[in-house]
């Protein structure tokens, strides 16, 4: 009986150690080295691969910029109009460049005879897998609003560089390859099977404005006319907050109840034995 009592007391003590212990706060990942939550400008440029342009030429397909895009000296450039980017230290987070880069109002047309395929409004997602999606039109009619046009290989990406005087950051080295779906669609449009998925289109260089770049034209400074608030905003009362479970306390309570129940059983059995 003494051994049993000691065991009961030991379990109870073990259970009661749950009091005051909390839940370990979930550890967040490594901090980013740079974050731009609202991209405002600059461009994504692709130095076109001679193999890609040569293949188009051999098929008599003529590439041309559309909207605000430019093609100069073998480099196609598309202005960045929005999105965000977060850069981590390489090796700490994969992929170490994350975000979304939007390129509204620009694109590339591919024309052969009376057939014109237009790829525009590019959206780059450097995630896994990294892709470039865009809208596809055939002779002016929308074929798809958002399809993967290019696969992006970030393994060749070089470390980010910044230009303090220009207030810009540059990421270069991403290899742009034609996606299998885009190649199949182009083959179908141009009546050929010569355009292959995985074909290297070129090497991309992304230049983005860093936050705080001053307004260069137009009215207004872009600053708040009033005082900048300090800190965050108290926009909640907590009525929808969920959770509240402390596993250690809960386990401690259950064990304590078990110990109490066990003790009662022992007492009742001993009483029955004594009466018998």
């Amino acid at each position: 009986m003494k051994m049993r009592s000691m065991a009961v007391a030991g379990v109870a003590a073990l259970a009661l150690t749950g009091i005051g212990s909390g839940i370990a706060v979930a550890q967040s990942g490594p901090p980013p080295v740079a974050t731009i939550p609202s991209l405002t400008g600059q461009s994504t440029s692709v130095k076109l691969d001679s193999g890609f342009t040569g293949a188009l030429t051999s098929l008599d397909v003529k590439p041309a910029p559309t909207g605000n895009a430019t093609v100069e000296n073998g480099t196609a450039s598309f202005p960045i109009t929005g999105g965000n980017v977060t850069v981590y230290k390489p090796g700490e987070v994969t992929p170490y460049v994350q975000g979304t880069l939007m390129h509204d109002g620009s694109g590339l047309s591919l024309t052969k005879g009376s057939t014109k395929v237009t790829l525009e409004n590019f959206v780059i997602d450097p995630g896994q897998p990294a892709t470039l999606k865009g809208k596809v039109l055939a002779n002016g009619s929308t074929v798809a609003d958002s399809v993967t046009l290019f696969d992006l290989d970030g393994s060749t990406l070089k470390p980010i560089t910044t230009d303090a005087s220009a207030n810009t950051a540059t990421l270069t080295g991403t290899t742009v390859r034609l996606s299998a779906d885009a190649a199949a669609a182009l083959d179908k449009a141009f009546g050929t099977d010569a355009i292959k998925g995985g074909t290297t289109v070129g090497i991309a260089t992304i230049v983005v404005d860093l936050p705080g770049k001053a307004a260069s034209s137009g009215s207004g400074s872009g600053s708040m006319p009033g005082a900048m608030p300090s800190g965050g905003a108290q926009t909640g009362g907590g009525s929808t907050a969920t959770g509240g479970v402390d596993p250690a306390l809960l386990v401690g309570g259950v064990l304590t109840l078990a110990v109490a129940g066990g003790a009662l059983v022992v007492v009742r059995r001993r009483r029955a034995t004594d009466q018998g």
Partner: protein, 215 residues
Amino acid sequence: MSRARRRGWVAAAALLAVAGVALVVLGLTAGPRAAAPIAAADTRAPVTVTAPPPTTTAVPDLPASPPARIAVPALGVDSAVNPVGLNPDGTVQVPAPGPLYDQAAWYTGSVTPGQRGPAVILGHIDSAANGPSVFYRLSALRPLDEFTVTRADGRTLVFRVNSVKSYPKDAFPSQAVYGPTTRPEVRLITCGGAFDARARSYVDNTVVYANQISP
């Protein structure tokens, strides 16, 4: 075992049972609480309001006119927008308890939507006792989602989400959120993260960065 000793054991067991019940109750209620997780598929298609999509994001600077209404189709939000100022401690005011509590609010020290700079629109995630509020699902917005702000002059402007960020209130990046921009932008702000029951406050803020794309 004597009767007295047995009674002692029963009393001890009863005390343990009471302690166990208390621990269970504490275990179910005393742990950390957080803003309700919002089920949002990262891969869902953007919810847009422009048809057809804009061909450019270059928009003209507009004269000042305060926002009167905000509609966020991706969240099912369509709310009046009321003005708020600053508290004596320099923090931004939020909708006070009462009939306007569950409506969005515009910080009058920021630009009006359509002007170059960040127009700041806030909304509660929830109330202390009455459940979800106007920006309850704000963290479910995704880049490329669009929403509209209608100004007092009748103009309805379209904004597109660039990013959705969460910041600790004690490390709030004021310059990134409230600093100057080169074009008309909007910041939508609400609470998020863990709920500090002692301070009766969430520890984080959710901030949506968006820029005007139309007209």
